[in-house]
Symmetry: C2
Subunit: 256 residues, 2 copies
Amino acid sequence: MVAALERFDKIEVASAYQLVADAIEREIMSGRMRPGDSVGTEAALCAQFGVNRSTVREAIRVLEQSGLVRRGADRRLYASLPRYSGLSSRISRALILHEVTFRELWATARVLEIAAAEQAAENADAAIIALLEANQAQAEAAQDDPARLSHLDTEFHQLLAKATRNRVLELAREPAGLLFFPTTELIVRRVPEGAGRLVAAHRHLIDALKAGDAAQAALWMSRHIADWRKGFERAGRDLDEPVERVYARSVLRPPY
Amino acid sequence: MVAALERFDKIEVASAYQLVADAIEREIMSGRMRPGDSVGTEAALCAQFGVNRSTVREAIRVLEQSGLVRRGADRRLYASLPRYSGLSSRISRALILHEVTFRELWATARVLEIAAAEQAAENADAAIIALLEANQAQAEAAQDDPARLSHLDTEFHQLLAKATRNRVLELAREPAGLLFFPTTELIVRRVPEGAGRLVAAHRHLIDALKAGDAAQAALWMSRHIADWRKGFERAGRDLDEPVERVYARSVLRPPY
DNA sequence: ACATTGACTTTGTCGGACAAAGGGACAAGC
DNA sequence: GCTTGTCCCTTTGTCCGACAAAGTCAATGT
């Protein structure tokens, strides 16, 4: 039942709402429409494209979802820069559904976090270091609260990524981080010395950033990540387990 | 006109189409609905949720866009695993709009590609090496065709990432790769020895994979990426330029 | 000057409608 | 036996018109 010869390309007919979405997307990607610009009311778009409002609204859902368009507080439509967080959480969801293993997660987080530590040491400014210190102070006070500590750990690494001033790296590490660091809760719950080692590592990392010492930052991040792995295994878990759907919660509803 | 006291949380009213989308999303994320399962017709969903078809259709656009649901060849709705490629290209678009610089791109691609080379050396199997060899044969024959060579280079690195058998890494490197490697065209156009050095580096990488030599793979990848940077600068470009929108083409319409 | 009112606009949702495309069953033709 | 044409039914893509809720804005009254 297979086509005898694959001579022709699949002919693809684009539906109206797709065409509308594409048109607006091109307008934004080309720079003719800039983030913050008003896209116009639904009625106006209907008139311009000569389609029904239902069609326009479907196109808007597509654009809204890809982050190119946003509803303002006044409910009007504005062109917008896609937010990182939305993208990251969707990738994390995809990783869960693909049932990637903790080993894959760990190996990837390892290189990304070490790189982040190095680049952060080179580029961190006082403002971001202050935020890291604030995080650290809270973490030191929360060593007996696994859930809170885990949340602070996730935040610490996000701040560290921001300190790199490398938005590509910041975005690249986020999906893995979103799945990886929440497991900290499980580890500090099962491994007594886990919390102490965590805040100690964070301490050394902050100090390395302050000193602008990339090598030291990389070293302590390396230990920090190695600790995670040891803790994970001592908690009786297997690296080759797939990441559970349980983490979908923390991904679907980002921690406020 | 600020609220006197912030006693209450912002009450957020979710629109019907959002609720419908969320409900279906939860069904899929929880595993109750598995990829490939039919989601049902629009009419059926209307009946189940007790909303209008327009509302259901808007919800479907949202889910379709996030890749959780797909239209089959028969136009029916099926639950689906989000494809990597769709996600990657959207991130690349976001990076373009945020006007990230080539420096950020380079620094990130560097660590990700080196990690990919190492892990590929440890995990590559014969099948994927055969694909890399095929790519290499084409590249050697296309040294005078910058556009084609650039496309093959992008593909080479994608294959290398697949060889790692680490899907998290594979996905993490893709967005940067999608923007990074197309510049190869510009470089081999301006730098005479560029093409030769590129195929030579790929050759050494394949050999390292065959030998399972992670250190050697990392070394040659490191040189390969350093070459890119040298070529980029010799082509008269500045690393601190933002990535141009020009590349939107190659991102929006993935190379088939 | 400022709060209130009321008209106007825009969005979110609904109901119903129809053409086009695909699927399935069944008969006709080679 | 296999393909082809035909009819019917389902489903999707699109359109039209409608209305309540919420926001905007300008005129109003004090």
